[in-house]
């Protein structure tokens, strides 16, 4: 392991390990998995988002470059892409996520997955991975999740150390969950906010105390699956295309730090929330035509959309300052994608 490499010409080096528990233990009760994933960390990435060259960190698929694929980042430069490539499994499977940390320690927390403490990826309750570790868990409930680093999380998740995590029902994609609705078209959106002032800080910024202004977040760049507003309305990795009469499942991962509101245009008709945070709702919840949903960080929503008539419909997402002493939310940005019905 080599410490102290540059990420995007920003020092990612490690100087302190305050409060960390560095280790690379064997996996307790290790069994042969039904499916496995390999993730290596990188801290020297650069991704152009809406024309801005953003230094990024993340997880590569083991042995090579990451990115691409459903829900995975596009347009990643050297190092890897934001977001990291998805983990997709079936309900009931025993999963191994093999993490190898390059450059500096990190962890993987499978967000919404509830394994034992040892496999939860939170250093303060177990250990931070310095070298390698195989997380072992069993997927108990189909739904939409994500995974991210949980070390100095405030900085590491912001730098892009996250990816989608989908659990399909035992029969595989096409049905949201056992007993749930089927779908013809699937989209995964990880919607994130970026404050460029945070993207040139070291791995352990203020971990031992001191002021790195990590309390002060002012995003000036917004993205869906790592794409900026120059591409989100047209790029096929985000923009949704369906035929009239088809059902669309939109898996929405709120990957940012400030409140987001997604606004569905009236032309798309009624939208139903069928699941939240990886759990089916007791009853599908109607978002009436033209309605919107206000979200807070790390929520996930599964939207079922059944558009009736052909057209191209804009879906607007607005971002608000997290500081709201008066209760009023102040909009600070937005991004748009589209649903095209043929």
């Amino acid at each position: 392991m080599s410490h102290g490499m540059d990420g995007g010409n920003c020092p990612a080096g490690i100087t302190g390990t305050c409060g960390l528990h560095l280790d690379s233990p064997a996996t307790p009760g290790r069994v042969t998995p039904d499916i496995e994933f390999f993730r290596n960390t990188f801290m020297d990435g650069n991704q152009v988002i809406n024309g801005v060259n953003v230094p990024i960190w993340g997880f590569n698929e083991g042995g090579g470059m990451g990115g691409g694929g459903m829900g995975g980042g596009m347009g990643g430069g050297m190092g890897g892409a934001l977001p990291s490539s998805p983990i997709r499994v079936k309900e009931g499977q025993i999963v191994h996520t093999h993490l190898t940390t390059m450059m500096a320690p990190h962890t993987i927390h499978h967000h919404g997955i509830e394994p034992d403490t040892f496999n939860d990826g939170v250093g303060h309750y177990s250990f931070d991975v310095d070298g390698s570790y195989t997380y072992q868990w069993r997927a108990s409930q189909a739904g939409t999740y994500f995974y991210h680093c949980h070390l100095n999380t405030v900085l590491h998740a912001e730098m892009g150390m996250y990816g989608a995590l989908i659990i399909d029902p035992p029969g595989g994609p096409g049905t949201a969950f056992t007993g749930g609705p089927s779908y013809d078209v699937e989209a995964i959106w990880a919607v994130d906010d970026i404050d460029m002032a945070w993207h040139c800080l070291p791995w352990d910024a203020a971990l031992c105390g001191g002021d790195a202004r990590l309390n002060d977040f002012n995003p000036d760049l917004f993205c869906i699956n790592g794409l900026g507003e120059d591409l989100t309305e047209t790029d096929s990795s985000v923009a949704i295309t369906a035929a009239a009469g088809e059902s669309i499942l939109l898996r929405y991962i709120m990957a940012g730090y400030v409140p987001q509101r997604v606004n569905f245009p009236a032309g798309l008709g009624d939208v139903y929330i069928i699941a939240e945070d990886g759990r089916p709702l007791p009853q599908a919840q109607l978002v009436p035509a033209g309605g919107s949903v206000l979200m807070t960080p790390a929520e996930r929503y599964e939207f079922l959309i059944q558009p009736g008539s052909p057209g191209t419909y804009p879906v607007d997402i607005r971002f608000y300052d997290y500081r709201a002493v008066s209760g009023a939310l102040r909009q600070i940005g937005g991004i748009r994608s589209t649903v095209t019905v043929n």
């Binding site: 069994v31 919404g112 509830e114 409930q141 405030v154 007791p282 929520e299 997290y322 939310l329």
Partner: protein, 336 residues
């Protein structure tokens, strides 16, 4: 007039149990309604922050100095709550109970006494609603818990049963606002722009992690000990508490009670002034393989990750508390 027993509510500085455990007595089932008497003062002064600094705050307190957050008032439906407030400061203070018409002003340098009938069973924030949220965010807030009459294991009459209950009162602190008042006098509070809020400390029950590791805030229970958590956001930011280990069921949302099948979440959105009661099933972590045995330890932290810092860094010493599944608490939690 209903017949009521008379319960003297003795309040005190933070960190100590109520004298005589009257906090517990006031929500244990009893045959008659009571008058719950609460004496509060309005105080300004420095409160300790987790990194060894201190922040100047203005608070309701049960003692003679600043107390962050203010005392928890526990009563049951049908109780009469009798409050006296002394305000030695040079500014008016307001005692308002959210979602109700209860609102009383205490003039500068004076005192008031007033009574109110307990509102319907649930979780309420009491706070000073002046200056577009600035007074509340400076620390003038606390919790009012109303238990249903005749029950000590539900939060409303047909709600789910719990084995124990906790309160997590969330707040966010901007010490620059406090310094402004310390330097210019508390009367300067009216000139603070609510949009200038830049919080640097993030607390649950007035504490940042790992000072949240105390019996009223660190949640513990044996497997199957369903646990009610009353979440309130008195602070000035949008929080997003995330539970590791178990999803929670949304029991009540700002006074709207869910009696049927409940939504399960690992994120509980908390906008300023929100009061949300959730039920933690305290189940064995469902995705563990092999199945978990022995006590399991998890964080609950806000996922608006700025809240995981103190003084601009020092992760994770922010809005974060621990949950232990599979171990009973050594002393039962109070709602204080």
């Amino acid at each position: 007039m209903k017949r009521r027993a008379f319960l003297q509510r003795t309040v005190r500085g933070s960190g100590v149990l109520f004298a005589g455990g009257l906090g517990l007595l006031s929500w244990a089932p009893r045959s008659v309604a009571a008058t719950i008497q609460v004496a509060l003062g309005v105080h300004a002064g420095y409160a300790p922050m987790v990194d060894g600094t201190s922040a100047y705050m203005v608070t309701f307190s049960g003692g003679s100095s600043v107390e962050f957050p203010g005392p928890t008032i526990v009563c049951r439906e049908d109780d009469l709550v009798s409050i006296s407030i002394q305000n030695p400061l040079s500014i008016n203070a307001v005692f308002h109970v959210g979602r109700t018409a209860i609102r009383h002003t205490v003039g500068a340098g004076s005192s008031v006494n007033f009574d109110f009938e307990a509102p319907p069973a649930g979780t309420y924030l009491y706070y000073d609603d002046q200056n577009s949220g600035v007074n509340r965010s400076m620390g003038l807030h606390g919790t009012l818990v109303v238990m249903p009459a005749g029950s000590d294991n539900r939060s409303f009459s047909d709600g789910p049963t719990f084995v124990r209950q906790y309160k997590w009162l969330l707040a966010s602190v901007d010490p620059a606002w406090g310094e402004h008042l310390a330097n210019s006098g508390v009367a300067a509070i009216g000139g603070i722009d609510p949009d200038s809020f830049s919080p640097r400390y993030f607390t649950i029950n007035g504490r940042s992690f790992d000072q949240t590791d105390e019996p009223n805030t660190h949640i513990k229970g044996l497997v199957g000990d369903a646990t009610l958590i009353r979440l309130l956001n008195a602070g000035g930011m949008v929080n997003s508490p995330h539970f590791h280990g178990n999803h929670v069921e949304i029991v009540s949302l700002n006074g709207s009670n869910s009696s049927g099948a409940r939504k399960k979440k690992d994120i509980v959105s908390m906008f300023p002034l929100d009061c949300r009661d959730v039920l933690l099933p305290m189940a064995t972590p469902p995705d563990a393989w092999p199945p978990a045995s022995g006590a399991q330890h998890f964080p609950m932290h806000c996922h608006a990750e700025m809240s995981q810092t103190a003084g601009g860094g020092f992760y994770p010493h922010g809005m974060h508390a621990s949950i232990t599944i599979g171990e009973a608490p050594t002393s039962e939690p109070q709602l204080d």
